[in-house]
Symmetry: C2
Subunit: 260 residues, 2 copies
């Protein structure tokens, strides 16, 4: 990048980190330079600082990878691991009851970010990973988070485009709008083969002390399982249990011996 | 900090992030300024960049907290979530067999960093958390990682000081040296009430394709449980299963139907 790049060195440093992704978890200096639009000299100076501090590490196979020190600091993000720690006991109960994928997700802008997933060996294949993003209009957790998002977020997603994952993905805005209203009314979202042809997810909202929906919990199972829809009460109970752990008053008023 | 601070703006940016810790997960601008040794003006400029990029977020209760965007990038750290994803199936099996704390940890310098923990509702209290650090010479995972650390790391730890957590913590360098040799020979570390007065941990090494010990796996249980020492075979089997997932050849040569 020529002189006159208006980005501050702080932003350039963060942009070097942004070059890493699931598909690009190990990058050379020149790849980092290209991806961040910075000269090799500037990239080298920034990477040296990042390595010295521990945000990047030399990879055993050459190049650089994200370092454990960055992960330690990032593990303090309240919507990341701390939320996950509060949710884990209820998620483990749900996993033991179903032996399917149990997922916890939050909304970040127009996408879902997965904060935790417990997966059984025989569980259905899912496209997501912890720390990964997905669209809001297709998965169970996405539909729950979209249904409870601010109006402007909902309108932006409804304005499209709505990517089609399978024949059953909702890509018609009017139908999506009706589905979101139904989810707000019933408190449950069911995504039936709307992401892959063999998976069904059942999702419920997780609320904090101010009754705001801060996360969504789901079970993703084989779509042909007889017990698929029967999972809703278990997901609802677990999501209420997590809401209670977050200080939600409605959930707290219930007798504590009941599952939510 | 007066003019002439030799740190680059990259390092200053990282040092603002370093101000956050478990006990200080939400900080005001002036707290960030004090902790990083930067002027309010510089701190304000850096924090604006960090918020704009998503590395920090405004907290609902005032001040700043670590943002989800940083957590997403950091989740790519190979010794963090990716290791955890490979280890999770074996950890879940171990959890279901014991319903105790199942922990996965790596070494970072002279400390243990916990990468994952599954915890049962009735499990014994532990002092650790995911993303948190602990000393190498006291916990089961710490002893395993220390036993297989480079000589210079072992000598630095043995040179002390060795913090005493309970009456049983090993604080005598000669005894610690003998314990480490025994762990290398048996392949198992047992920390019996060496961290808290009621917990015992059983830990085994996790090895990668080059036979290097890259992590340690443990079960932490009540010290008075009759089955405590009986847990060793299960921990050993699970750690071999994780090693196999990492491509360890010794583990791969075994029939795949056996648990490692």
């Amino acid at each position: 990048m020529p002189a006159g790049d208006p980005r501050s060195l702080s932003l350039k440093t963060l942009d070097v980190l942004s070059a890493f992704s699931t598909d690009r978890a190990r990058l050379t200096l020149s790849e980092l330079s290209r991806a961040s639009g910075l000269s090799l000299t500037t990239t080298h100076r920034i990477v040296s600082d990042l390595v010295g501090w521990g945000a990047l590490e030399h990879s055993a196979r050459g190049g650089y990878q994200v370092g454990l020190r960055l992960w330690e600091i990032a593990s303090l993000a309240p919507r990341g691991l701390p939320l996950r720690e509060l949710a884990l006991p209820a998620m483990e109960d749900l996993y033991e009851a179903t032996h399917e994928n149990v997922q916890l997700a939050v909304r970040e802008g127009l996408e879902v970010v997965y904060v935790e997933r417990l997966t059984g060996r025989g569980a259905v294949r899912v496209l997501t990973r912890v720390g990964g993003r997905f669209s809001l209009h297709s998965t169970g957790v996405g539909l729950v988070l979209l249904a409870h998002a601010p109006d402007e977020v909902q309108e932006e997603v409804l304005a499209g485009p709505l990517r089609r994952w399978t024949d059953r993905t909702i890509t018609d805005p009017a139908r999506l709008r009706a589905t979101l209203a139904e989810i707000r009314q019933t408190g449950v979202a069911i995504s039936d083969r709307q992401v892959t042809d063999d998976a069904l997810s059942v999702a419920c909202p997780v609320r904090d002390r101010s009754d705001a929906v801060v996360a969504a919990l789901s079970v993703v199972m084989h779509a042909d399982g007889a017990s698929a829809r029967a999972a809703a009460p278990a997901v609802r109970a677990a999501s209420r249990s997590i809401s209670r752990a977050l200080g939600h008053p409605g959930a707290q008023r219930r007798p504590s011996g009941l599952p939510g």
